[in-house]
């Protein structure tokens, strides 16, 4: 039986490399569903990634796809978008890729408001290298490089991007698959830098070390701790303790970088013509 989303997949490259129970397939499917529901032009859509488990997703997706160096997906994508603003450029990254080694590119892309849709598959662990702590690993959690518990404090990625000037920031989870699809659709429709923190589960390298032994334990944890953005607004600091908001958290449209640069181009050409 043909999958309804088969035209977006390189079926010949399957099966994927992800472990049983991994959340990355759910998020990849949400992206593909969002693309399908929006009817994006598959010839004009480019998917760029860095290094890590999540960054293998583009290899299975039937678009122009670019699997770059660790942390640099957003910087490569910036070059693509600047060179050809007609393209829809989607970046798939992980929490280590986006927030540790690539943190600088994340905040600067947000500041520039360049038209990229960045989806962070956030499983708060380095899965590809078998379970070292990331900047998203919660304090006290265990990781192969945090055998006594994580001593550092984690980022809140949405707050980070917001603080860097991000004009569209959203969060959802692998548990909320339909909600996640809708949030990604909003991000893809947004004209500017759009960031989606997509919580994923890594049962193999995070769950097993942290008393969330099965994928369902981890998905249920997302269900039990996520709060809609509208409810979050009404909650007291005490009520918010241990919870996190999902939904569109920032939506403050601002002029997109390549459009602003397009105006510079027109002006420079006019001046060059006048001086010739």
């Amino acid at each position: 039986m043909a999958l309804p989303l088969e035209k977006y997949l390189r079926v010949g490259k399957l099966p994927h490399i992800w472990c049983p129970g991994c959340g990355h397939g759910i998020i990849t499917q949400a992206i593909i569903r969002a693309i399908d529901e929006l009817g994006l032009d598959t010839q004009k859509t480019v998917v760029v990634s860095g290094i890590g488990c999540s960054s293998r997703a583009p290899g299975y997706m039937n678009f122009d796809t670019l699997h770059t160096t660790h942390g640099r997906a957003i910087a490569f994508a910036t070059g693509i978008k600047m060179a050809n603003p007609e393209l829809k450029v989607i970046v798939i990254t992980g929490d280590g890729d986006a927030a540790a080694i690539g943190g600088n590119h994340l905040i600067h892309a947000a500041r520039r408001n360049i038209g990229l849709t960045v989806i962070c598959f956030n499983n708060n662990i380095y899965g590809m290298t078998s379970g070292q702590y990331s900047p998203l690993t919660p304090t006290g959690s265990y990781a192969s490089t945090a055998p006594y518990g994580m001593v550092e404090r984690p980022f809140d990625l949405c707050e980070l991007v917001k603080g860097a000037g991000g004009t569209f920031v959203a969060r959802s989870t692998a548990y909320h698959a339909r909600h996640l699809t809708n949030v990604i659709k909003d991000a893809l429709k947004y004209d500017g830098f759009a960031f989606v923190d997509a919580l994923s589960q890594c049962p193999t390298y995070f769950g097993r070390r942290n008393r969330l032994r099965t994928p369902m334990d981890m998905l249920n944890w997302m269900r039990d701790h996520a709060v809609s953005a509208s409810s979050w607004e009404k909650m007291s600091p005490e009520e918010r303790e241990g919870k996190f908001p999902i939904g569109v958290l920032v939506n403050q449209p601002s002029r997109e970088l390549t459009k602003v640069y397009g105006e510079i181009l027109a002006q420079a050409r006019k001046e060059a013509g006048a001086n010739a």
């Binding site: 010839q43 480019v46 583009p58 039937n62 490569f76 070059g79 393209l87 002006q267």
Partner: protein, 387 residues
């Protein structure tokens, strides 16, 4: 711009004009002395020709953006100096592996580390060759004059586009910050190569096709043209997808080296001066070759048979003129360079025991003066009677 008229140009400025003449449409950079003028002038000129400029958040991002823009189908370049060149190396390796055409300018300054940012050096000879990880050939070109900074930048783009590889333009502060009177060639006289386009439909296109002939390189489709292909830094097969097959991997790694090694004859050949009857050869490149040329001319004026071999292509190392010199059983080969001895290593390898290979090495920012090279020529030809 203004071809055909005499102009007073800076080396870095000539590089930018050459790049634009070659069809540069995207520049990403980060400020670093002594290359910054290249970024500044690209910011000014590129929008006038419909090109794009962006100052990225760091050197790594600049190199990444250049790769991205090139994959989107436009001729792309970045410029830096030693410390920034080091930061770019991982993504230069990516461009080598993924076969992304681009030009990387390194205007060398004194190192290691921050060193002496405004002073000249030629300390990145080996970094330009071996700065990335893994095995691969790379094309490195080094201009000696402002005019050559222009023409060689055009050549760098042509090689990059034809061979689908990053090309390093290894400048030094001497040439980058040199102001010289130049008459730029008319655009109609320049050979500018367009990026070859695939002639197969998307279903049949292999972005990393192996034709069995290393000199033949698969054309690169642009993102957005409907080919929907995959690009990765992982070792990959002809279709661009990662592989763990050792035979496929070995073939890919060898092919990207052989496509350059097999084209040595098509790269800019060394300039030779008075080499036919020379008894002593000076081997030099970049800014130092200017002093070497004067020294060789002065020696000839004194009746001393000195000759110059000036490398324009630094890597791959073009041995042919040195092999001809070796056959003449010379008294010495003198190698002046503003480092502690880098390009002398392949020169020694080629010359073997045929004759002494003498380095003139200066670090700390002072140029090597013609008389220092002339003294070495005298010493080699006249021996103890030189003084």
């Amino acid at each position: 711009m203004k071809e055909g008229k005499p102009r007073l140009l800076l080396g870095n400025e000539a590089c930018v004009e050459g790049a634009i003449a070659a069809g540069l449409k995207f520049f990403a950079g980060y400020p670093i002395t002594p290359s910054t003028e290249i970024a500044e002038l690209c910011a000014q000129y590129l929008p006038q020709v419909g090109g794009k400029f962006i100052q990225m958040e760091d050197e790594i991002a600049s190199m990444a953006a250049v790769c991205g823009a090139s994959l989107a189908g436009v001729k792309s370049m970045t410029a830096t100096s030693g410390p920034g060149f080091s930061l770019k190396q991982e993504n230069i390796g990516f461009a080598v592996q993924a076969e992304i055409p681009c030009v990387v300018v390194d205007v060398q300054r004194v190192g290691p580390s921050t060193g002496m940012p405004t002073s000249a050096a030629q300390g990145d000879v080996m970094q330009s060759r071996w700065g990335t990880h893994g095995d691969h050939e790379i094309v490195v070109l080094s201009p000696s004059s402002v005019l050559e900074a222009y023409t060689l930048t055009v050549t760098a783009f042509n090689i990059a586009e034809e061979l689908r590889t990053p090309v390093i333009l290894l400048m030094d502060e001497m040439v980058g910050h040199l102001r010289e009177k130049v008459i730029l060639p008319d655009r109609s006289e320049l050979m500018v190569k367009a990026r070859p386009k695939p002639d197969l439909p998307p279903g049949q296109y292999k972005p990393y096709a192996d034709y069995g002939d290393p000199a033949k390189v698969a054309p690169l489709a642009a993102f957005g043209e409907g080919y929907r292909f995959h690009v990765t830094g992982l070792t990959h097969g002809e279709d661009g997808f990662p592989t763990n097959n050792p035979d496929v991997g070995a073939r890919q790694i060898k092919r990207i080296s052989e496509k350059i090694a097999s084209r040595k004859k098509d790269l800019p050949q060394p300039e030779e001066l008075f080499t036919d009857d020379a008894e002593v050869f000076v081997f030099a490149f970049g800014g130092t070759a200017r002093s070497a040329k004067k020294a060789v001319r002065d020696a000839r004026a004194m009746g001393l048979k000195a000759g110059l071999i000036r490398a324009i292509t630094v890597w791959p190392f073009l041995e042919e003129p040195l092999l001809r010199a070796k056959a003449k059983k010379p008294k010495a080969v003198i190698v002046p360079e503003m480092n502690l001895g880098q390009i002398i290593l392949p020169v020694k390898r080629v010359m073997g025991d045929a004759c002494p290979v003498i380095g003139i090495n200066k670090v700390g920012g002072r140029y090597i003066e013609p008389d220092e090279i002339l003294d070495a020529i005298k010493e080699a030809i006249l021996g103890g009677s030189a003084s």
